[in-house]
């Protein structure tokens, strides 16, 4: 037991050191690395929902977009009138000082974590009562409706978009901006990972799995499933909101349907990454997101214009031929590594049954 823990310790400290050193080692790729952290966070939180709880949602994009708008709005609204800011296109009339900028983004991120979680809690009772594909379609509708509605609201820029506050003028240096957002997202990644890891060792995870495997039975066993489902969704929303807030600051411009409530990209990516890595595993989404990001960044520029075709084909292929994901495949191949003991007789009997 001790040995395993030591191995884990080495692995985690190695990864953290790698993460901390990454912006210095690959200083040209800081934005990509930030993206990667955010993608991993999104995949992990989706996995909590779709993988562990069995509620396949397309709607986590709702919290992501909400977080993005909230962070930017708070950051602006704390110091300047929001309506005038969006009307003037942002930075031209008002300038944040360094202190204001960091205060704003701090409070904004706090708000963008709490409000999406509260929203998830508020709509959870109604939405999470839906089962299976009704839930999937309903959340798909929610995500798109949110985008369409945000595109019609004047105060957050409506269709023309919302420019988030630019990085303080005193630190014009791009290097510092990249590092700031990278470390922010890296901190979020570590926070999410620790949280999810904690959940994986807790009773909560077993309850979520029970809900996934058979909700009626879980209920019959005396578990108040609705309570746990809502809690699970709120956890997802919390981290999705934070991820959205960071992305909004990084991109610098929020559009209702193409950046914030981007169901066609982010909303699909998070599902795809979790499935690619393996649903219902701790490391699956991390590996899936990393692979996907490398694939995306490597291929996107090569096949310019065809990337969505490639994405669509990738979805179809993964879903049809690879639904268990990488971790599922590894588990099938090397069950011993996952601590599963296979009874040889039992296996033979299973084969014969087939």
């Amino acid at each position: 037991m001790n040995k395993v823990k030591q191995k884990d310790l080495i692995l985690y400290s190695g990864l953290i050191i790698l993460g901390l050193a990454a912006p210095y080692l690959f200083s040209a790729f800081k934005v990509q690395l930030t993206y990667l952290c955010v993608l991993i966070v999104l995949a992990m939180t989706w996995n909590l929902q779709g993988g562990e709880m069995g509620y396949n949602t397309f709607g986590n994009i709702l919290f992501y977009g909400l977080g993005m708008y909230l962070t930017a709005s708070v950051q602006v609204g704390m110091f300047f009138p929001l309506a005038e800011w969006t009307e003037s296109g942002g930075e031209k009339t008002f300038v944040h000082t360094t202190a204001q900028y960091f205060q704003g983004i701090g409070v904004g991120l706090l708000v963008s974590a709490i409000i999406p979680a509260l929203v998830a809690g508020a709509i959870g009772y109604a939405i999470l009562g839906l089962r299976g594909h009704y839930f999937a379609i309903c959340t798909l509708g929610l995500g798109i409706a949110a985008g369409e509605i945000a595109g019609g609201i004047e105060i957050i820029g409506a269709g023309q978009g919302f420019t988030t506050p630019p990085f303080p003028a005193e630190i014009v240096d791009n290097e510092a901006r990249g590092k700031f957002f990278y470390f922010l997202s890296f901190a979020l990644l570590i926070g999410t990972f620790v949280f999810v890891k904690y959940i994986y060792g807790s009773r909560f995870k077993l309850i979520l799995n029970a809900i996934r495997d058979n909700e009626d039975k879980a209920e019959a066993m005396g578990i108040q499933t609705m309570k746990y489902k809502i809690t699970g969704w709120m956890c997802s929303a919390f981290f999705c909101g934070l991820a959205g807030g960071i992305m909004g600051g990084l991109i610098g411009y929020i559009d209702s349907t193409d950046v914030a409530f981007d169901g066609r990209e982010m909303g699909v990516f998070m599902v795809l990454m979790a499935i690619l890595g393996g649903k219902g595993t701790l490391w699956g989404p991390v590996i899936g997101a990393t692979l996907f990001h490398f694939f995306k960044e490597g291929l996107w520029t090569l096949i310019l214009g065809w990337q969505y075709v490639a994405l669509g084909v990738l979805i179809v292929v993964i879903v049809i031929y690879f639904p268990e994901g990488l971790m599922g495949w590894l588990r099938e191949k090397y069950p011993e590594r996952f601590g599963e003991v296979i009874d040889e007789k039992d296996r033979k009997a299973q084969v014969e049954l087939k």
């Binding site: 396949n56 109604a126 939405i127 009562g129 839906l130 299976g132 594909h133 009704y134 999937a136 379609i137 309903c138 798909l140 509708g141 929610l142 798109i144 409706a145 369409e148 509605i149 595109g151 019609g152 409506a158 269709g159 066609r264 699909v268 599902v271 499935i275 214009g305 065809w306 969505y308 075709v309 994405l311 669509g312 084909v313 990738l314 979805i315 179809v316 879903v319 049809i320 639904p323």
Partner: protein, 297 residues
């Protein structure tokens, strides 16, 4: 109330007529969705994109100088084969899998189709002019494009034709048998694989008709497929599978809702209203069903 629509009663007549005619068109798409959902147990997210593809076929004919109304005959024939090949390529692998897999797989198909249409037909909003003129009603206060009347008429024609076909023909009976019990149908000698392919083909053909009609009456754009999927999904949930009159009525209801939402909320919220309606319907349904839950006593 400060809305224009409540001040001018004629606008209400206008919106109602528009809504009903549009709703009949939605009902046709929904009928296709109900058919393949009922038979194959698949929710096809690419439904709307099949519609748009059908529309582009009519638009291509229009560009070639043929009257786009002929699209209602040509488009379903082409779309039938598109559906057939789509089935052979992808759908047959997801038929007896989890519904979420079919949702995701068809979502992937939808993305591919959108992008390919974007390449081939361009990202502009296009419309095929039918030049049917307009009908004026009530002292010219209500204008009704003849193309809308034409589209409603053709939709009804196709729907009725399909119902008769499903009742009378051999394939129709095979489809209904498979929908009731695929295994039993297989035992009794129905080639279910063929039935599935034909069902998906018929669904695509219906989408083709609807698309050609949309090309004439509304506008086409590569990325507007999803709202049509959601509309048909909504209609099917409200009406239930295989209940044709209910499909027609709820289709018209949806059309009315949309036209009124358009006037009251403004055009920019139209699609948003459709998606919110979906959420409300699902949530309402969930509360209604949860009241019916049975407990062991």
């Amino acid at each position: 109330m400060d809305f224009l629509i409540f001040k001018a009663p004629m606008l209400m007549v206008q919106a109602s007529l528009d809504g009903i005619l549009l709703g009949i068109l939605f009902a046709l798409i929904a009928y296709g969705m109900a058919l393949q959902w009922g038979v194959m147990n698949i929710i096809n997210i690419a439904q709307g994109d099949l519609v748009i593809l059908g529309g582009y076929i009519a638009y291509t004919m229009y560009l070639a100088g043929i009257h786009p109304a002929w699209g209602v005959i040509v488009s379903p024939i082409i779309m039938y084969f598109v559906g057939w090949y789509l089935y052979k390529l992808v759908i047959n692998k997801v038929v007896d899998r989890d519904l979420f897999i079919s949702i995701l797989a068809t979502f992937g198909i939808a993305i591919v189709m959108q992008q390919l249409m974007n390449f081939i037909f361009g990202a502009d909003v296009v419309v095929a002019q039918s030049e049917y003129g307009t009908t004026m009603l009530f002292d010219n206060s209500v204008t009704l494009p003849n193309s809308k009347i034409f589209s409603a008429f053709i939709s009804v024609l196709y729907a009725v034709g399909l119902v008769i076909y499903m009742k009378k023909s051999r394939l129709g009976r095979a489809i209904r048998a498979t929908a009731q019990n695929a295994r039993a149908a297989k035992i009794l000698g129905v080639d279910t694989e063929k039935v599935y392919a034909a069902t998906f083909g018929i669904n695509a053909a219906l989408c083709g008709v609807a698309g050609a009609l949309i090309a004439i009456t509304l506008t086409l754009h590569p990325y507007v497929g999803l709202p049509y999927t959601v509309r048909s999904f909504m209609i099917v949930i409200v009406a239930g599978l295989g209940n044709l009159p209910a499909v027609a009525i709820s289709g018209m209801g949806l059309g009315l809702f949309e036209e009124f939402a358009d006037y009251i909320l403004g055009t920019e919220f139209r699609i948003g209203a459709v998606f919110m309606l979906l959420v409300f319907i699902l949530v309402y349904r969930r509360f209604k069903l949860s009241k019916k839950r049975e407990y062991l006593k």
